[in-house]
Symmetry: C2
Amino acid sequence: MIVDFHTHIVPDAFPATGGAEVLWPSMKHHGDGRADVMIAGKVYRKIDERSWAVAPRMVDMDRDGIDVQVLSPMPELLSYWFSPEDGGVICDAVNGHINAMVADAPTRFRGIGMVPMQDPKLAATHLKKLHDSGMIGALIGSHIEGLPLGDASLDPFYQTAQDLGMLVMVHAMHPAGMDRVGGPAGLAGTVAFPLETALAASSLIVGGVMERFSDLKLMLCHGGGALMSLLPRLDFAWHKGMSIASAVSVPPSEIARRFFFDSIVYSDDSLNTLIDRVGGDRVVMGTDYPFAIMQTDPVNFISGASAGHAPAILAGTPFDLARKTRI
Amino acid sequence: MIVDFHTHIVPDAFPATGGAEVLWPSMKHHGDGRADVMIAGKVYRKIDERSWAVAPRMVDMDRDGIDVQVLSPMPELLSYWFSPEDGGVICDAVNGHINAMVADAPTRFRGIGMVPMQDPKLAATHLKKLHDSGMIGALIGSHIEGLPLGDASLDPFYQTAQDLGMLVMVHAMHPAGMDRVGGPAGLAGTVAFPLETALAASSLIVGGVMERFSDLKLMLCHGGGALMSLLPRLDFAWHKGMSIASAVSVPPSEIARRFFFDSIVYSDDSLNTLIDRVGGDRVVMGTDYPFAIMQTDPVNFISGASAGHAPAILAGTPFDLARKTRI
């Protein structure tokens, strides 16, 4: 049973907003299975029916040898920039669409939803709804409108996730530092997502989240981004007694082994570095399907690069994560 | 002849500022060889005479088996936040101190100076002065008060560096994204410097600097930071024809091989990844001496991890870089 743990969906329609939220998303359908996600009057992303319908996804899954896809929202839908109530409206719409997709083909899909993290207690309430609807976790952004993920104000959400056994999947969003890159539009996801993920992971480490919630299941997307390349420096500074030693009771690389990771790293040596540093049992296969940056031929990528760890990455750990988070 | 290419200095005194520059640095000496670098009325860093005097450095160099140190300014001295004229005053003071240190022991030290990048044409003029004084290059920050290093407005500086054969050494400074980490003060250099260096490197790549100046010698400190972990994703996006393909005429990893790198990566596998991706002849040994984060026992680190590349990293490439940039 081979699982693709990192795929995205966009519903084919959004609820109308009662207010005048300029960033409220909407869909412009072209009638041929293609559509534009419109935000602030502009095309945010060109997508097609693979984003909202299960039938074309299953064709690709069969081609790629994938038995189950875990569905999660496109990160730009996370809507932390709206009021908690308006964000909750988008959450309900997206989560409802994911649940409907899973219901269309329950042996082929599992759902990861979204919650209004701009209000951590409300997010916890929504997370309970996701759990009760059969979802296995929630996707959250790499920061909550600038609030670092290690901030203690988010603890009610982490506590509920731990209590319910719900997976927290951290995805880069609105990355820091793109003003220091320049270049053509559209580079943020390519260049800065892995760096942004490393910032979020560092916040979780120095903020003590993985120590306060030792049973929390938390996954870093894109193989943790640049985190693997940071760890030797973080450990070195920790052993030297620099400021990071005041924030973490064990070397940061030990905390890093408490995260889960997907395999979206695009090179054999990066996958091997990930496995070497965190263990093959902390990695699950992901692709970013159906977006342009998706890892192609993912099963062969895992089988070719991960030596004896392929069974865990492709099936064992995903199955454990999903099963344990089921009711 | 074994060279440590990445070490820092702080002069034992700064010129007084005529104005009211709140960030103007000053020194508070304790009389026992220790001193505080004071900025805005606070201790920015506690240092000792290793930062400004050659004698204690040579003791450590002899202990560590290092024949030559390349001296460069502590990045916080770069002073891009002052007017070009005031910045130039600091540049002259720091560069003068570096040249005096080299003159004290000319067989043991080489100098890399600093220039007022906030005015690229003035920076080019200062670079010529560094060149004429016998320095081998200039240290620049990873951004110029937010301006990305790939911005074409900096071309007069890069052009002059190329024309004079002066090395440009890029060092992280005031890194992006620390507000997304939180945690105790003092983490920026530990956590965010490698990510910041990757942002700067990405800007140089997508900004076309290494294509416009094909003979420019440019070094990324800290092994390019997280750049190595980004390259597979950048190449993947480039081959997919995503926006990065409109900015660079060859895969980004090919541009990356035009940079030089120091070896400050703290782990054998990170050093091997660096060598595998860019070639052993693009790497020189560095330490960050004499600051807390400095790589310890550097020669053994290189010898143990780099297989047949140690002679190039320790001596060959540093010698080439320094010699070719001499008059």
